[in-house]
Amino acid sequence: MNPSIRTMLAATALVAAPPLLAHGVAAGALAIGHPWSRETAPGQKAGGGFLTIRNKGKTEDRLLSATSPAADDVQIHMMKVEDGVMRMRQVTGGLAIPAGGTLELKPGGYHIMFMGLKKPFKQGDMIPATLVFARQGKVAVRFKVQPIASTAPMEGGHGGH
């Protein structure tokens, strides 16, 4: 079979397959799992978003940027604690999702930074956002808002951890 046809079939299969995760998104070779965010307080003008992106394809893709109608600006940030100091930096040039690999944006590492929130994120809200990839282009996702104490995505709708 022609490789490009095979890729197309694989891509079609992915798109057609029901998402495994509660609110994951399949887009071409990319499987985006569980975008989630933490609730914010009134007056708190920023919030972090987390998600995992699996690349089932044979070519690297890159997460370049994101936008959301819920925030004035959305950036990709990297956080680390080194020598007892928390440092946060904007990621420029995007983040690679290697062929067959997974990119994780999770507490203690990379996150999507929603800045200038239009209104507070409330538990259970689904925050719409558009991720922009170098190859896949724009992919619409929704970040589920969880309790502020969350450190990982919660399965199902409710409950603590």
């Binding site: 933490r38 307080a41 009134p42 708190q44 007892g84 100091v85 440092r87 930096r89």
Partner: protein, 208 residues
């Protein structure tokens, strides 16, 4: 001023004199800056040896004054951050709330204090609604730049504003939680990477 055309030559002279003065001032400024840099060498060394903690004055979330004396009589865990901090601040405060829960009734024998080092964005009331999300009593506070500079110096807290795209900034800051005894004396810190078992043992030490 009134006689612009007739006064041109004297104006030029005055302007030249002013420029000379500016140049002289600039040279002196450089000398002073260089000299000052040499002379202040002893300052960091002096603060490095000093004990952690000390008197401070801040404004609590409800607008009242929060000082070291307000906290006297109860041990406390104090953490410095800012509400726009998307990761380490909620993680650390949620962890304190969790550790407190694990301690059972003893968990209420110490105070948790969150100091925002970003008063430009975090008004006391904002800090109050932020700490309320953690579902356990947390004393939120912030202060003027001078008040924060004082407590940061006393606790050896590193704070640096870092500009990011779009004219905004983020704040690099110390991620440790400082544990203080009921007299406000420093006992130890809980590190961001530390496991719960060690953290719980440390908390038991301050409430013992």
């Amino acid at each position: 001023m009134a006689d612009i055309e007739g006064g041109t030559p004297p104006m030029v002279v005055v302007r030249r004199i002013l420029w000379v003065l500016v140049a002289v001032a600039a040279v002196f400024g450089v000398i002073l800056a260089v000299g000052g840099g040499d002379g202040s060498k002893s300052a960091p060394a002096a603060s490095a040896g000093a004990a952690i903690g000390g008197p401070f004055t801040l404004t609590a979330a409800d607008g009242s004054t929060l000082t070291d004396r307000t906290l006297k009589g109860r041990p406390f865990a104090i953490f410095f951050g800012f509400t726009r901090c998307p990761d380490v601040c909620p993680t650390s405060l949620a962890r304190m709330a969790q550790l407190r829960e694990q301690l059972g009734p003893d968990g209420m024998k110490f105070d948790i204090v969150f100091v925002s080092v970003d008063p430009q964005h975090d008004r006391p009331a904002d800090i109050g609604s932020y700490v309320a999300l953690f579902k356990t009593p947390i004393i939120g506070a912030t202060g003027t730049d001078a008040q924060l500079a004082q407590i940061q110096k006393e606790y050896g807290v590193y704070v640096r504003k870092v500009p990011i795209e779009g004219g905004d900034y983020t704040v690099d800051h110390t991620a440790a939680i400082y544990l203080m005894d009921k007299d406000g004396h420093f006992v130890t810190t809980i590190d961001y990477h530390e496991n719960d078992k060690t953290a719980l043992e440390k908390l038991k030490r301050i409430i013992a």
